[in-house]
Chain length 291, copies 2
């Protein structure tokens, strides 16, 4: 199943048999003091530079999150979106649960973005799905509700079904829903990855929709987190995850290698091109540091 | 299905639901001038030190290969095996196609080793399988024959079936056969990994035996080889590869992360212990370099 997202000039197709679409996660103030301060001051200069950098490193889509204390999302989300549209042409993903902020951004956006996200809570579905319908967007649906992330496969599946059913009743096509089966951490529950992987597999089989996978909580509290994240990503993609929110500069080669191993990269062209691109960028970065 | 291999004091169980067993590949003169020269001179000092080092880094089994021009395997294979037995207690894997050399090593070995390897060639089966039977060893069976590595899944499967049938007729139990589905390189055929992964899956389903996977040819000719190898390993293990010949010092954390993600590491104990072990070894190495 293909999910089509668009900017004014560019189309990105997310599909389970295609290479993984990478959503750049860096425009997000969580844990980043400098970006938070800039957003609090109404300054989107850093949003712009992060956008440009992530696209250079190979982001297919950019996530925009401006949620921080002291930041009015209703003002800053559209402002950040406009700033990013002015410097890049990749489709965007609006990362907020604030319906008013989302609508303000949707009004000025040129294209078909992703809304990130809804979950199984009634209030959330009632507030956000009408925007998905009205503005013809795609939407990420998290397999959780007001009780948090369910520990078992069945309950997560049930929530995924609920989100898709509810959207369907409102006339939102199934291909515009992207399910996130969610991860907890293997350091507190060593079967956490198994539960997520099984959920992904069943969502793929029973619902056939595209799937994303959020931040790398899987490895929280353990050493060598990138190694664990990579092993998990390979297995998740194979089972049906077709897009992912990531730090693109860090994990692009990992993602390209998984695509190549799964036979989704004819003649290894994306892999070798991606490698050369990365080398060139690292060289430029080093040179500018040397000056 | 469990394959049990033994040294005089130690038992290692290879099984498809267990953590991957790592076979240390470093006692092999291919591409190593210094080790080749030592073996040519009849000197096994370096064999001994490589054995100790690999076990420190977490090897479950050690592969012993002394094949090089100017080295008489019939003399040097048992000599190397004796040397390794004198310094470690992990089970061994005798890596040779020379039946006479294998028998000389088998005669002095205490335990149940692996013979690495047979393939579908008549001559090879006729020479090696009787040794497997006579000395009650396990054996790696490569899915290739005198025509080389078949490009397709079906022919590789047919060869795997042939090896197991022939062994069965000689009274060798199925659990003592470990099939290697073999890899070619994705740089010349971008579907090479897909063919191997499908073969592994079908061997697992149709034959149920343990499986190994040889050297990392998959990434030959491409940059960032370790990234590709890791992605491939994760998917291969998931499909049924239960032991692997590797440079243990380099890939142990990768292997441990795959075990953990697949729910085969209760409370992440092997992962965290392996990490601490590795840190301690790296520290010791640095200190001895600093002296």
């Amino acid at each position: 199943m293909d999910t089509v997202v668009k900017s004014a000039n560019k189309e990105v197709i997310i599909g389970t048999e295609r290479p993984v679409a990478l959503i750049g996660e860096r425009i997000n103030p969580t844990g980043r003091k400098k970006l938070t301060a800039k957003l609090q001051a109404g300054d989107v200069e850093m949003v712009r530079s992060e956008a440009v950098k992530q696209v250079q490193y190979g982001a297919d889509i950019l996530d925009i999150n401006v949620g921080a204390s002291g930041v009015d999302e209703v003002i800053m989300l559209p402002k950040a979106v406009a700033a990013v549209m002015s410097v890049t042409d990749v489709p965007l993903c609006f990362d907020s649960h604030n319906a008013e902020a989302l609508e303000a951004a949707l009004k000025i956006y040129k294209g078909k973005p992703i809304i990130n996200s809804v979950n199984g809570q009634e209030q959330c579905l009632e507030e956000i799905l009408p925007l998905v319908k009205k503005y013809n967007t795609a939407v990420i649906g998290l397999a959780m509700d007001d009780k948090g992330i369910p520990p078992d496969v069945e309950t997560r599946l049930k929530i995924a079904h609920k989100i898709i059913d509810r959207a369907g009743k409102m006339g939102i096509p199934r291909e515009d829903i992207i399910i996130d089966s969610l991860v907890t951490t293997v350091s507190t529950d060593y079967r956490a990855a198994v539960v997520t992987l099984e959920t992904i597999q069943r969502v793929n089989k029973e619902l056939g929709v595209n799937q994303s996978l959020g931040a790398s909580n899987i490895s929280f509290g353990l050493p060598e987190r990138e190694v664990l994240n990579f092993a998990f990503l390979a297995l998740a993609v194979e089972r049906g995850v077709s897009c992912r929110c990531v730090n693109v500069a860090k994990v692009r080669m990992n993602a390209l290698s998984i695509d190549l191993i799964l036979g989704r990269d004819r003649h290894a062209l994306r892999y070798t091109r991606g490698f050369r691109q990365l080398q060139a960028l690292l060289k430029t970065e080093q040179e500018s540091k040397g000056e």
